[in-house]
């Protein structure tokens, strides 16, 4: 599967994993929050690149203490007008100084610049979006008043 990362199309090495059914061999699994919280101290997760998926109503604080061993946080954008993920991303970057990947799941082309400015750097596009065309969304507006994750004022 292809995703956009840092404004380039790449082949995705992660997979969404609700069951961790491969006996612990698989690296790069993205676990739902409740599953991650159950497994967080288990040997299964040790030395593996782990991602955590947050639903819009799940607080960033619930993984705050673990962020130094989480490689990726995936944020669910169930619909075009779901807005909570923007605050989750901003909190991860601004308040928790998270430096790993923040990935939007279900991103729409016209929202990509907003997401990027909140600190999201990877995008799994919503169904029906053309990945090549989506890249041009980043360039449409270059002037903003706010300092953000792409620039400091």
């Amino acid at each position: 599967m292809q995703i956009i990362k840092n404004r380039a199309i790449i082949r995705d090495q992660w997979r969404l994993d609700d069951g961790l059914d491969d006996g612990g061999r698989d690296d790069h699994a993205i676990l739902p929050l409740d599953r991650y919280l159950t497994l967080r101290r288990s040997p299964e997760l040790k030395d593996r690149a782990i991602g955590v998926k947050l639903r819009p109503d799940e607080a960033v604080e619930s993984i705050a203490a673990d962020l130094d061993r989480i490689a990726l946080v995936a944020l669910e954008f169930g619909s075009f007008h779901e807005g909570r993920g923007y605050s989750q991303a901003a909190q991860l970057r601004q308040q928790h100084h998270f430096t790993g990947e923040i990935r939007a799941l279900g991103a729409h082309r016209d929202n990509l610049p907003l997401m990027e400015r909140c600190g999201i750097d990877a995008y799994q596009l919503a169904e029906g979006e053309d990945i090549e065309q989506a890249l041009s969304a980043f360039e449409e507006i270059t002037e903003y008043y706010q300092a953000d994750e792409t620039r400091v004022l």
Binding site: G83, Y86, Q95, E116, I141, T142, Y144, Y145, Q146, D148
Partner: protein
Amino acid sequence: MYQYGENDSRQLKQRARQFKGQVRRFQDGALDADLFRQLRLRNGLYQERYAHMLRVAIPYGVLNSRQLRRLADIAREFDRGFGHFTTRQNIQFNWPELDDVPEILSRLAEVGMHAIQTSGSCIRNITTDHLAGVADDEIEDPRPWCELIRQWSTLHPEFNWLPRKFKIAVTGARADRAAIQLHDIGLRLFHDDAGRARFRVFAGGGMGRTPVIGKVIAESLAAADLLGFLQAILRVYNQYGRRDHKYRSRIKILVNDLGIDAFKDKVEKEWRNGKASAPVVGEAEIARAKSFFSASRKRAATASAGVGATVAGVIPVADKRFLRWREQNTIAHRDPDYRIVYVSLKAPGVPPGDLNAEQMEQLAALAEAHSADEIRVSHEQNLLLPSVAKADLFFIWHELNRLGLATPNIGTLNDMICCPGLDYCSLANAGTLPIAKQINERLAELDRLYDIGEVKLKMSGCMNACGHHHAGHIGILGVDKKGQEWYQITLGGSAENDTRLGARLGPAVERERVAEVVEILIDTYLALRRSGEKFLDTVIRTGVEPFKSTVYADHQKPRHHPRSVAA
């Protein structure tokens, strides 16, 4: 006023171009209709009853003559020759074609105007006191702060998809003329003992179908922290505001559901956690913002040419119509050599808030020559020439009168707030413009209006309350009953320092009877009032009961209620 630099202009041009691309993708079928709807709303474009409507922002109500001329051009070329000023310091064009909208936005961008975030679930146009910078009761000019908030909120990446729309109003005067307690956030600018600017912050106010008066969430916020604290409030609202039900998703519902104390705790926690990375308004930034809003420049009066009736410094006392207008439609300026002039958009028979292109152009010329190149828009749907030299007043009256903009009715019953209603709006349940006309015709006589004194009548064509009916001394709400238009009356609302919500008078009245009921309310007041009591004072003292009994008792009688007031 704020001058757009290269960066501001580039942003507007890029935004117009972006929207053009979105329109094209929509027309090509590459952009889903629901998605396009959300994108066009964030560019001010609605689909209304018969056509599109474009809502253009007039940030904190300040316009210069060049901008007003551009609005006139747009009205002429893309509308049917007029524009409608709203209760949120915006102007609406009712007949643009979708294909033309990117072009309209480009032309607005050329004069530093836009329609960004004038609709949709995002931070809307920042509104303020229409007398900002010229009022004699002002503590500090709120406009530089409004501009800072405008910049901060424009295309803010985090707050473009809020649960619902979000409105911020600011006042810097002793008397609140911006209805700050009826906004999602209301800001009262004041000075501490050391003379430093601080803000009292209200949150959770609003009108709509669940009217709520805002509650204090910060008593005294340092000015440097303004944007950081707004960010904390918005972040809490963005994360916890309900998204499952359109009518339960405004911040007022969240504040009520949590209780103000729990809401405040959440905001303060977010504020503490986010403080290190929150925006700080630096001294240099404040100074820069203030530099755009220096006190009105003094200029020599230049008016008399061509009118003959006046010479600079001499007021033609003979003209009673002029004196009446001066008394009713002008007020004290902080500079005693000037007056603030209201331009009444409430001429009888004209929809409240409407102005045609010819009037816009002529008014622009008057502002340019006689009011420091400035025009203001009030939330009560009038315009103002904020700084007119006293010696120019007669000339200005003469010109405004010629343009049909000098009806001496500011503050009277006929100076009503009124949404466009069923004639234009796809949300409306009932007409408002015909009712306004009905009331205007029934209570037309000026001497009678002056005797009645200040009455704020506010009318909305549906529960969304764009006409602020909850805050009217007399509020009128249009409702649909089995396909017929009926009107609920409320009494005793106010949007000022003593913000109050109106109380229901009784059952809704039929369309034909609204003006008659208003007249009965007025007659009841005249019979009840004590010396010096205004309409609102009497309603507060007596409650609605005496009004209720006259209105509904009267309904049982035959329909030949005497129309004249006992003189």
